[in-house]
Symmetry: C2
Subunit: 270 residues, 2 copies
Amino acid sequence: MTRSELIAQIHLKNSFLCVGLDPDLTKIPKHLLQLEDPVFEFNKAIIDATKEYCVAYKPNTAFYEALGVKGWISLEKTINYIPKDCFIIADAKRGDIGNTSLAYAKAFFETLPCDAITVAPYMGADSVLPFYTYKDTWVVLLALTSNTGSADFQLLEVNNQTLYAEVVKKAITWGNDANTMFVVGATRGKEIAELRKLAPSHFFLVPGVGAQGGSLEEVFNYGANKEVGLLVNSSRAILYAEDGEGFADGAKKEALKIQTEMAMYLQRLR
Amino acid sequence: MTRSELIAQIHLKNSFLCVGLDPDLTKIPKHLLQLEDPVFEFNKAIIDATKEYCVAYKPNTAFYEALGVKGWISLEKTINYIPKDCFIIADAKRGDIGNTSLAYAKAFFETLPCDAITVAPYMGADSVLPFYTYKDTWVVLLALTSNTGSADFQLLEVNNQTLYAEVVKKAITWGNDANTMFVVGATRGKEIAELRKLAPSHFFLVPGVGAQGGSLEEVFNYGANKEVGLLVNSSRAILYAEDGEGFADGAKKEALKIQTEMAMYLQRLR
């Protein structure tokens, strides 16, 4: 999906919500566990319930890999089930030397038809550039994450700035605002504003709203640009809003609630 | 596999060779492509040919994921085929927030019975610690990689030292020398010596010998400790030593050549 198509979807749906598809067998409703592919059935119901209210889905590969081959079958079915007008982010946090990153690009842009993949920056330019081989696909580079461990390295000072700012400064020279996004944790309003200055036109993928404690309004105030420039992710708050038979209804209500709030903020851009 | 078992294997086989299992369909011999699972058949022949001369195997997940579900089937078969006396490293370069890293740990320590997984440090302590949940398993943390992109962030100065040194200094407090190794690129002799001072008893996994241009003798001189403390990886130089029907013989010869050189250096420790 191209940048202009994504922006059009955001305005069409009045939403910049991304739903994280992180199915955990210990948390999904018990009645699904008897089915042949509980993970796919769970995702399918969640997608059906939320697709009007979100513009993107983000399956995190860890939850599928934990189930081995069966998990990859569920992942493949899930990605193929997501409607074509939704942006798909493989939350895989990959990154390796050149020819190996190219194999990852093939895995998530060709074998699985995703629009974007999250990438870890530690190995530098030649570990990221191979992901730009495919057309109309995106690198979503980790910049500032929302976990406490982000303080260990991301917040350290290098070249008179934080490491995460250095990552963003370098990475905007590797790609452009039509093929690169940054992961920016929602628990840090001021840092979002700082990164918005460094990358005025890039999209930010913001996790950490909801279960991880970030405020959507703060994210919007600090992070939005005139073309929105934000995808805000919610996983657990939507997926596990309700247990039992009503889980999809619960997810729908929660997604609608977030979308309604987003619609309010989007009006401010007009 | 425990640290003492690994060291015993090294002395038994007179080898600290790790064979990278990075099967690339465009490079493996043509006659294998007609078989039902060319990737597994290739790996099986490579393992049979090299198992006397190496102590570890390191499948890089990228080459399997590029093939989707079929690739994960090949990966599972490969890992189950590796002899029990060999150390298995899932070269996956994972790392995510806590509960997600735990799912990755399950994927590679429980669903797939690997001994170790490579992990990227960018997200900090709480992205690495969940990998220590399993018994007798290892984190192999990226410190200094052998690609040119390592200069982008790893070589930057933080707290009056390089970022990769900071990674090693912090990580030795997260685990210990019986559950943590570091990836240290073989193209950098001096840096190996520097890291050996910071982590005197930890194992280093050293890629970059052979195809990437590092010298085995230099790695040994700078990196060995009294319990060896090194696993040196070779992938392409062994896997693609010969094309056609003789590929396994070519791999065997190349592995034997490296093991013979290693045996010579190991004598110096006695």
